[in-house]
């Protein structure tokens, strides 16, 4: 819960950073945006302090809420000022997100409320009477003997109180001044303090403020005792952190009831603290188990937020990445099951690291397939950029996967990656017994279709992903694909690399076509339907070669993409996909393993001219 507050503030801070980067230098709004940053930094600090404070109680929470409300107001206010002063669309779009994020943040903050204060209640000390009633209930049971500190400058009032408390078998220590009270609290750490409000030197209110400032002392409950004429001051002390107050002369029954109630509450809080420590231990375990699949952020969300465990979801725009090993069914048939699993583990381990490195979420492993999302559970403005860069990095990391495979005598593998951006439903999906954070929807299925159009070593991205990306993308071929459920063909673009700040290029992203030394005779292709090669052969001519692709002249009109098998080069057929067409000139991406393909194609290429 605290973490989701933290994440929300961090997300706003990221927005404001963008705002700052969009503001022209010397613009009057820079100071305003910097104020927003300062307020957000103060919020992060307050949250951090609260989470470190083991003894944080209702008072600490109330303080935290107060500080956060103050600061979020500052953030919202400056956002509005900036919006009024600026017209640049990108800047305004960023700023308009702030109130939405703030509202979400405040909703989480309100969810933090611990005691259910009755809204009908007009009594400012209603909560005190609740504890009073609890105390009366508890008075039937005898409270465990505790150490109580009585603070009063008047000796006779002090003794009167001490006697009443000793009758309940409590151990009573006394202090005659506010200064002495603080000393004794530090040395003897009593279970409860009864504090006179009006004293020479430090008065009760000032003592309370000192106690609030002290990490250790603020856990000890304090009951303020005042004369009836100072009742207003005593109520004021509740604000300053006192647990309760009593009016002089102190009624013995009331005193017993309240002391019992507070001691019981304190014991409960101590137990709760132990319980939380236990909980943390088990959370560490959960983190270890789930951390393999989910990014830290989601694990934290699942742990902290009871909402995180409820089923259902939210609609959000994400970039979906799907990767698949080419010909995996063939590879797995040839391998023993253990070796097949070893191969997959090599691959998945390397890929998971790459994906998490780009703050992607590995949503699912489906056999040899990987489904990763960028933008859930937390959206960032560069989701599509990171996804594109991640895809290139994954292809690059295949060298490492294959190096490991080679070491272990496993076959070398290639992957294809599909990228798409759009709305999905994200959340915990499944049944009460088995559910996981995941994404579903048309755009997930679409990504799978895009991925199925790829050949080994290739990345294909949908227009949505490329439109949203701000990073420079080195594009290879483009082609239209007819997709079930879409009226218009989808234009897919081959991604060969991404520019700064990632600066990643696919290995062998050689886009130059090489002329042939000699054109082989009697080359034919057959269309594939499913896994079957059709018996019809079409005579074709190889025009040029580049890494992983052929340019063919085909005297027929074929629908793209088309799976084909090419005969006449090498003894077996060369499998591939027709992906591009200009007149009768087609580009065939080779899907047969690239090493095998280059062995066959190398002899065809003309030696470079000198």
């Amino acid at each position: 819960m605290l973490q989701s507050l933290h994440a929300a503030v961090a997300a706003m801070s990221a927005r404001v950073n963008t705002v700052l980067s969009l503001l022209p230098e010397g613009d009057g709004g820079v100071g305003d945006a910097e104020h927003m940053q300062r307020a957000l930094a103060a919020m992060l600090e307050a949250l951090g302090e609260f989470s470190r404070d083991e003894g944080a109680d209702d008072t600490g929470l109330s303080r935290l809420r107060h500080d956060l409300r103050n600061s979020i107001g500052i953030v919202e206010g400056y956002a509005e000022i900036l919006l009024e002063d600026h017209e640049e669309p990108k800047l305004c779009a960023e700023l308009r997100e702030i109130p939405t994020m703030s509202r979400r943040f405040q909703a989480s903050l309100d969810g933090f409320r611990v005691p259910a204060i009755d809204d009908e209640s007009t009594d400012p000390i209603a909560s005190i009477f609740k504890s009073f009633r609890r105390g009366l209930g508890g008075a039937q049971r005898s409270t465990e003997p505790a150490t109580l500190l009585v603070v009063d400058d008047n000796e006779s009032s002090r003794e009167l109180l001490a006697q009443q408390l000793q009758r309940q078998d409590h151990l009573v220590i006394e202090a005659a001044s506010g200064e002495r009270c603080l000393e004794v609290m530090r040395s003897a750490s009593p279970d409860l303090v009864l504090l006179d409000l009006v004293m020479p030197g430090l008065n009760g209110y000032e003592v309370l403020q000192e106690i609030r400032r002290d990490e250790q002392l603020r856990r000890i409950p304090v009951v303020v005792i005042s004369g009836v004429q100072d009742e207003g001051g005593a109520i004021h002390c509740i604000d300053a952190g006192a647990s309760d107050y009593l009016i002089k002369p102190v009624n013995a029954t009331l005193l017993t009831a309240r002391v019992s109630a507070l001691l019981e509450r304190k014991a409960w809080q101590d137990r709760e603290r132990e319980y939380l420590a236990e909980l943390e231990k088990s959370q560490r375990f959960i983190r270890k188990v789930f951390g393999r699949y989910l990014s830290d952020e989601i694990v934290q969300r699942l742990l902290d937020n009871s909402d995180g465990l409820s089923l259902g979801g939210e609609r959000r725009r994400v970039t979906v990445l799907m990767a698949d090993i080419r010909d995996f069914s063939l590879i797995s048939m040839r391998l023993e099951p253990e070796r097949c699993v070893a191969l997959l583990n090599n691959y998945l381990a390397v890929m998971t690291e790459v994906i998490q490195g780009f703050r992607g979420t590995v949503d699912e492993f489906v056999g040899d397939g990987i489904l990763a999302v960028f933008g859930a559970p937390v959206s960032e403005e560069d989701d599509s950029d990171r996804a594109l860069a991640c895809a290139v990095a994954m292809q690059q990391a295949m060298a490492e996967v294959n190096r490991r495979n080679e070491e272990e005598g496993l076959p070398l593998i290639e992957i294809g990656i599909g990228l798409n951006t759009g709305d999905v439903v994200a959340g915990n999906i499944g049944s009460e017994l088995r559910s996981k954070y995941g994404v579903v929807g048309h755009n997930v299925n679409l990504t799978s279709r895009i991925e199925s159009c790829t050949v080994g070593g290739q990345i294909l991205a949908s227009p949505a992903t490329l439109d949203l990306s701000r990073v420079e993308v080195l594009r290879g071929s483009q082609f239209d694909v007819v997709v079930k459920g879409l009226d218009e063909p989808l234009k897919l673009t081959e991604v060969l690399g991404v520019g700064l700040p990632y600066d990643l290029l696919l290995e062998g992203a050689d886009v130059r076509w090489k002329a042939l030394a000699s054109s082989p005779e009697n080359v034919r292709i057959s269309l594939l339907s499913g896994k079957r090669v059709s018996s019809e052969r079409i005579a074709v001519k190889i025009l040029a070669v580049r890494s992983g692709a052929l340019r063919l002249s085909i005297p027929a009109s074929l629908e793209l993409p088309a799976d084909v098998c090419l005969f006449g080069v090498g003894s077996d057929g060369l499998y591939g996909k027709l992906v591009q067409q200009e007149g009768d000139c087609y580009v065939m991406k080779i899907t047969t393993h690239s090493q095998e393909a280059s062995r066959l194609l190398e002899p065809l290429i003309a030696p470079p001219k000198h």
Binding site: H35, R38, A39, S62, R65, H66, D67, R69, N70, I72, G73, I74, E76, G77, Y78, E80, I81, E84, S102, Q106, D110, I117, D118, D119, S121, T122, D123, P124, A126, H236
Partner: protein, 124 residues
């Protein structure tokens, strides 16, 4: 032009809120603590006071009580602002003599409607 005295100890809050109010046509004066708030309301006689409740030197409740105990100052309407949203906060602010109450973060349209409601009723 109606004048508002904004009593607020947080510098950023003061800057942000005063600028938004000025843009909506108010003359805004600033005080940084409770005592200054009382002093300035005496010398400036603003049409309305926006009073943060957690203030140094003298807190908002005390300021409100003193304002309402003063023959001259009691006619100045006070809107209490607090970042606590407890149900009894409103009650306490009203008990101290505030004329209305609003929570932080400030929702400007809501605050403006409260301001104009009070200014409409306030004796000119």
């Amino acid at each position: 032009m109606p004048s508002i005295l904004l009593v607020e100890d947080n510098e950023m809050n003061r800057d942000m809120l005063s600028r938004r109010l000025i843009r909506r046509g108010f003359e805004v004066h600033l005080a940084v603590d409770g005592q200054q708030g009382l002093d300035l309301s005496r010398s400036l006689r603003p049409d309305l006071m926006l009073l943060d409740m957690s203030l140094p030197v003298k807190d908002g409740w005390q300021v409100a009580r003193e304002m309402k105990a003063d023959e001259v100052l009691r006619s100045i309407p006070i809107i209490a602002l607090t970042a606590h949203a407890m149900a009894d906060d409103r009650q306490r602010a009203m008990a101290a003599g505030c004329d209305d109450y609003d929570t932080k973060p400030v929702d400007l349209p809501r605050l403006l409607s409260k301001i104009s409601a009070l200014l409409g009723e306030a004796p000119q």
